[in-house]
Amino acid sequence: MVTMTTTAAPAATTPVVGFDQVTKTYGSVRAVDGISLRLHPGETVALLGPNGAGKSTTLDLLLGLKHPDGGTVSLFGGTPREAIADGRVGAMLQSGGLMDEVTVAELVKLACSLHPRPYKPAEVMARAAIEQIADRKVNKLSGGQAQRVRFALATAGDSDLIILDEPTTGMDVSARQAFWATMREQADQGRTVLFATHYLEEADAIADRVLVLHRGRLLADGTAAEIKAKAGARRVAFDLEGDIDGAALRALPFLTSIDISGQTVRIQSSDADATVHALYGLGVYPRNLEVAGLGLEQAFVAITEAEEAKQS
């Protein structure tokens, strides 16, 4: 009786994306090395990593364009192909080309007519801000414009999951920020959005969950804030006069890394308040003290460096 009443409906617990110990090898390179993860409905997730981290392979596996050597990939509890055939997934890939010698409007119309729950082409173009280039030939677009057209193709219908592979590549800073608003709109409509990026600012600005991928492995999974904390959230810099007691400094609490060059000391700390308090406790007189937040960029570098140091 008890088990019956506490069993939730299966639909509510089915993850949007399920990776279970997925591996993919090319020759001797493990592009994806035992990744397990679940994405839940409504999440906006950034897949963050440098070039060659395995982001594109991960997305290819997720979309069924590649098949894993080991482990299983599921979308909405079924195979990727089933989910795509049902129109539940809209995706733009970096490697996804466009049909050339047709106009932007023609291509968007095609995408709409291929979707089982299409939006009106005019609506789709307005959302992607490509109405002004509707009559332009696809092969005459700039990099940023082509990205917007790809985005339009990925959002041509009412899909539950939107996959965007480095969506703002080729856009300048202002175009990128305008595009983020467009991405947020998708998330605000309750869709699950997964985007790959190496713009760390992008992950920080949009995602409510960040997956850090490095050499085919999942290094970190959390909010942007948690990832910053994991890497050492704040930077403390100061100058000291006279001989510096390196050993004492290295023993400071919450310190994650330290760099002493000349009279200048730079520390990364996961709790800067406690570290600075302890610093005064050493009886030294730090001058030019600066405490600053770490951007996700530095956090990311710190995580990957720590991982590399562990391996070597």
Partner: protein, 246 residues
């Protein structure tokens, strides 16, 4: 899939170079080649006038151009550009892309045949019965499917850089050796022996049989059928291989 066929077609009809080569070029060649001979002149051993004989050759050549040239190159280039991948992220079944390509080529090859027939009848006074015109159109149109399959196979075999020369070699090789440009009876013996096993030779021979009011030779039908199985099978196999790789 209809939407994709429509768009492929719109694109093909917009491409003036492609339209010229698949529609006007065979007709122009026909008029040039047939101008050198008198209207009563017959091709040895066929009982057909030169113009009548050449009409089938050039209609076959035109259909071959329409279904082979555009598709092989487009498929190779669109595989490379990633458009094929992007389409696989839509509800379109994987084969839909290939079918749309073949269907759009088939729509272009039809005017190619009809324009040439009209020129032959009006300018070169080729006379045939109504059933012969219809049967010729049907046979040449349907037979072009063999080469459409070949075009798809080449598109999945070649890279974007190599596809044009490869297509050209196969295209001219099949056209000339198959006797579409000049009767293969004018070839030296060795070439004649090769020619009679080529799909283009069998293809034009089917059309010629209709002109002569004869039943098509079983050998020619069999040769075309074998090539169709070969090309379509090859295209299907290469397509599947490409899908697994992509």
């Amino acid at each position: 899939m209809n939407a994709l066929i429509k768009l492929e077609l719109a694109r093909a009809l917009r491409n003036k170079k492609f339209l010229f080569f698949s529609v006007l070029y065979p007709t122009s060649l026909f008029l040039i080649f047939s101008s050198s001979s008198g209207s009563g002149e017959k091709v040895d051993g066929t009982g057909l006038t030169v113009a009548t004989y050449l009409m089938v050759s050039m209609a076959s050549f035109g259909a071959l151009t329409a279904v082979l040239m555009g598709n092989s190159e487009r498929i190779a280039k669109e595989r490379e550009s990633g458009w094929v991948r992007q389409l696989r992220l839509t509800t379109l079944p994987g084969r839909g892309y290939v079918f749309a390509k073949i269907a759009s080529a088939a729509v272009v090859s039809l005017p190619s045949i009809i324009v040439l027939f009209a020129a032959a009848a009006a300018i070169k006074h080729v006379h045939l019965g109504a059933w012969q015109w219809l049967a010729l159109t049907g046979v040449i149109w349907a037979g072009s499917l063999v080469f459409a399959a070949l075009g798809v196979a080449i598109g999945y075999l070649a890279t974007g850089d190599a596809v044009r020369p490869i297509t050209m070699i196969i295209y001219f090789g099949l056209s000339i050796l198959g006797g579409l440009w000049m009767p293969s009876t004018t070839f030296p013996k060795t070439l004649q022996d090769i020619a009679k096993w080529l799909p283009t030779h069998a293809y034009a021979a089917l059309g010629r049989a209709i002109e002569q009011s004869q039943a098509p030779s079983a050998t020619d039908v069999a040769i075309l059928a074998v090539y169709f199985v070969l090309f379509a099978g090859g295209a299907a196999w290469l397509y599947r291989k490409d899908t697994l790789k992509a």
